[in-house]
């Protein structure tokens, strides 16, 4: 993976990578979180349920309940299985956290029989938003939680299912 600082002590065979996203008043998707725009890594123990841990750390770090917590892809990186999560929060809950507008990126595509050699953080986010675009059409819970403005913002993303990125 390129373009991502790592928390040096986050280790273990399974880790979560969290991208906190929100929709600004100009209807632009923004990336934020306690690590600002950098991926946020979390250790997952053998008895930890990944979604429960991500929801708990997100609620604590953000100080509010997230609107959505969804795993969007997985890959093998840094000697671990990395489960990527998109956490959607309300604009009012961004507070003082640094935030950047999310740009578009080409997806990292696998070769016929091998994973991509490199996967950039922006490509993971791109797929995560494509997965949300798929969920908002397929999953009634997600569709209920996301506002019409969110649905409009996701309309430009090609819907993709959960999948491995590398």
């Amino acid at each position: 993976m390129v373009g991502a600082a790592r928390d040096p002590d986050v280790e273990g065979p399974v880790q979560a990578e969290i991208f906190v996203v929100w929709l600004d008043e100009e209807q632009k998707l923004e990336l934020t979180g306690p690590c600002a725009a950098a991926p946020w890594y979390v250790e997952l123990g053998a008895t930890d349920h990944p979604v429960e841990v991500v929801e708990r750390v997100a609620r604590h770090a953000l100080g509010k309940n997230p609107l959505l917590v969804h795993s969007t892809s997985w890959r093998h990186d840094h000697d671990a299985v990395i489960l990527s999560f998109v956490v959607v929060i309300d604009a009012a809950d961004v507070g003082a956290m640094q935030s950047v507008t999310i740009g578009r990126a080409a997806l990292a595509r696998s070769e016929a029989t091998a994973a991509p050699k490199e996967i950039a953080s922006a490509q993971v986010v791109e797929h995560g938003l494509r997965h949300l675009a798929w969920l908002v059409k397929d999953d009634p819970v997600v569709s209920h939680e996301l506002s019409p403005a969110w649905k409009q913002a996701l309309a430009g993303y090609v819907p993709e299912p959960f999948r491995n990125l590398g």
Binding site: A5, P34, A36, W40
Partner: protein, 49 residues
Amino acid sequence: MKRLGCACGWEVVGTEDEVVAATQEHAEQVHNMKASREDVLARMESVEA
């Protein structure tokens, strides 16, 4: 005074005990990690008071 910064951007400055306590809390609540006192001491640095 001691200082410790996390790759996620968080940092703490204080006495050794304050830095250890704050770092252990940050590790557990933000990264779901258990950090021993020895882990924290190995990563902290001295700064001007």
